[in-house]
């Protein structure tokens, strides 16, 4: 369960030490945008050592460089032996991208005596073509665990301005959620980039949660708590879900075909949703 996925720059010792301390459900150690071309080699060696040294308890995602660069294979060669749980592939554009990465990972997993397919992949969709191919990306191979939206690069590609309200990415958000759910994978929303606007962050995270995202990328540690909160079931949600389960049980015991709660029929989708809420609450350790 990943409500928050916090980016940490890959070449920064002072940030790597904090991987387990910032409260995020996972960390994305970045070898791509946060690292200058001159230091790609330094960063992948540092990150490899950090993974061995810290043995993070937090779920580890490593963002490698794009398939259109000369870096990504070297990134994998250094990182895969340390078996991070996830690789985040930037600029995922089509199913073939996922298969290319899958093959490279498979070869390295076998060379390092790791479980084939054990390292899962999150596809960062941040191009127009990626959005239009979202479902084929999500369903390209079993290794794909999630889609994530990268709205900064995407809006440049869409030739529109990125706004806080996010009307320009409404379509992409909806498309990604539908594609991910259709393929049976998770879906993570784009980061909120204004460090100091915590109210705006909360609104943005609640919107994403409302759209069906499972969690959100985070670029500032101060945003972690709010994002975790937004993607956790609320006390009211949990209480309602418990009530739903209770009346369903009672109805079953009394042999009733249909039951109602507060005058509203409890049908199958409502029960399914209640189960999801209670499962999520249990996994997150959230108490009502």
């Amino acid at each position: 369960m990943m409500r928050s996925l916090l980016f940490l720059p890959g070449n920064s010792p002072s940030m790597l030490i904090n991987g387990d301390l910032l409260g995020s459900d996972s960390i994305i150690i970045d070898l791509e945008d946060a690292v200058s071309p001159d230091d790609k080699d330094a960063a992948r060696i540092l990150v490899r050592n950090a993974l061995g040294f810290f043995r993070y308890r937090t779920t580890v995602v490593v963002r490698i460089n794009g398939l259109d660069t000369g870096y990504w294979r070297k990134d994998l060669e250094e990182i895969v032996p340390l078996a991070p749980q996830f690789i985040l592939l930037p600029k995922a554009g089509c199913a073939q991208d996922m298969l290319t990465l899958d093959q490279a990972l498979l070869a390295l997993e076998q060379a390092n005596s790791l479980t084939p397919g054990g390292i899962r992949v999150i596809a960062l969709v941040e191009t127009a073509v990626g959005v239009e191919h979202a479902y084929e990306i999500a369903s390209a191979c079993p290794r794909v665990a999630a889609l994530a939206l990268g709205a900064e690069d995407l809006t440049a590609d869409l030739q529109c301005k990125r706004t806080k309200e996010g009307a320009e990415i409404a379509y992409s958000r909806g498309r990604l959620v539908a594609a991910a759910r259709a393929a049976g994978v998770e879906c993570f929303d784009t980061p909120f980039t204004d460090t100091d606007d915590l109210e705006g962050l909360e609104q943005d995270a609640r919107l994403a949660k409302g759209l069906g995202f499972s969690g959100k990328l985070v670029i500032n540690p101060r945003h972690v708590g709010i994002v975790n909160q937004a993607f956790s079931p609320s006390a009211a949600d949990i209480a309602y879900a418990r009530e739903v389960m209770r009346v369903i049980e009672e109805g079953r015991a009394q042999g009733k075909g249909a039951v109602a709660l507060h005058g509203k029929m409890i049908d199958k989708p409502i029960v399914a949703r209640a189960r999801q809420v209670l499962d999520a609450a249990e996994q997150m350790g959230v108490k009502a």
Partner: protein, 468 residues
Amino acid sequence: MNKLVSSLEEAVRLSGLKDGMTISFHHHLRNGDHVLNLVLDAIAQMGIKDLTINASSIFDVHMPLLDHIKNGVVTGLETAYIGAKIGRELSRGLLPRPIVFRTHGGRPSDIISGRSRIDVAFLAAPTADDHGNFTGKAGKSACGSLGYAFADAEHAGKTVVITDNLVPYPLAGASIRETCVDYVVQVDSIGDPAGIVSGTTQITRSPVRLQIADTAVACIEASGLLEDGFAFQTGAGGISLAVAKGLKDKMLARGVVGSYCMGGITSYIVDMLQAGCFRALVDCQCFDLTAVESIRTDPRHWEVSAAQYASPTAKSCLVDGLDVVVLGATEMDFDFNVNVHTDSKGNIMGGSGGHSDAAAGAKMTMIVAPLLRNRIPLIMPRVTCITTPGNTVDVLVTQYGVAVNPARADLRSRFEAAGLPVKDIRALYQTAIALTGEPTYPQRREGKVLAQVFYRDGSLIDTLYCVE
């Protein structure tokens, strides 16, 4: 009676200062102070030697003091704090006699009782009249409170007031009165405002330090002490300020109205007063312009003497009424002893200030500090110098968990009930050295004595040795 004299030299001559005497200074102008350097230059010109300086603090701006030590003008130093840069130089053992460290409360206690004699006090005055009434609340070098100057003014053999803002008699609302003052000298500038109100007065932006502050606020809430009448002190370090900010939100949310707040007063503390978190601020030292403006204009913002703030022998002592104090630490050991005097090499880089006074008085003394500063662990088996004894320290808050003094089982159970990450201090040490490796601590308890560290009651609590 004409107290206004034409020059510092004239004031020194009239004061009767002789070889071997003790002169004193306050540190309200902090790292912007010109007065200590001006006075020593004048004294050196006059050929007086072998003086002891008793200053409430020494800052890096006082580097010229080193020359006056080398040429024999100054042979003794008594203080509560020494800045890191000048401290490193002094740590090589430039002074023939050991430095005497007292606390901010111990210093006025010793001055008032006569244990510590001051022959001539040279007191920087941001605004004064020619009879010697003076205040820090106005003038181009305004510094706010003059709390550390009271004991000196009242108990020195002779008191010289040095001002760069001489106003017509009488100065209304003076902090310190003409009845204490022998001579008044006008100079061009007593200080640099940029240095007077600078310092560690910015809230931290480090996510880990902010998280430490959040945990500290949660500890205060769990302690059971955050009720109406709550009395609080915090330092001016980045984490401490973040604690103040978080505590403000908590107090407003819970509708708690505290009694008083003290410590180095910053804009964050003034915000708390203005938001209604406290009924009064008691101020021995202002750290920024907002604090200076507040003490000048807001009657709820009191100026108090160092004796009233922290002296163990005063008839009233504000630290004794504290519920919670939040302090920093350079080193801390398994017995909860805290060092804020030296770095790990044994170089002087601070001093108690009011650290051990507030720790002794407060119902709950909290240390907030990162477990590691780069590769240096905060916790060690035995601190390099005991500034504040462990039996007055209750809680350590780090980013890896909270340690509670074993003597405070009550706090431990409250914290655990609140779900706070309580750890044994030795477990935190193990966490640290799993990351840093086991340090090889230097043995330096021999050779020439650098400094004697006196606890607030006058007892010798530790001895420092010179660093090569």
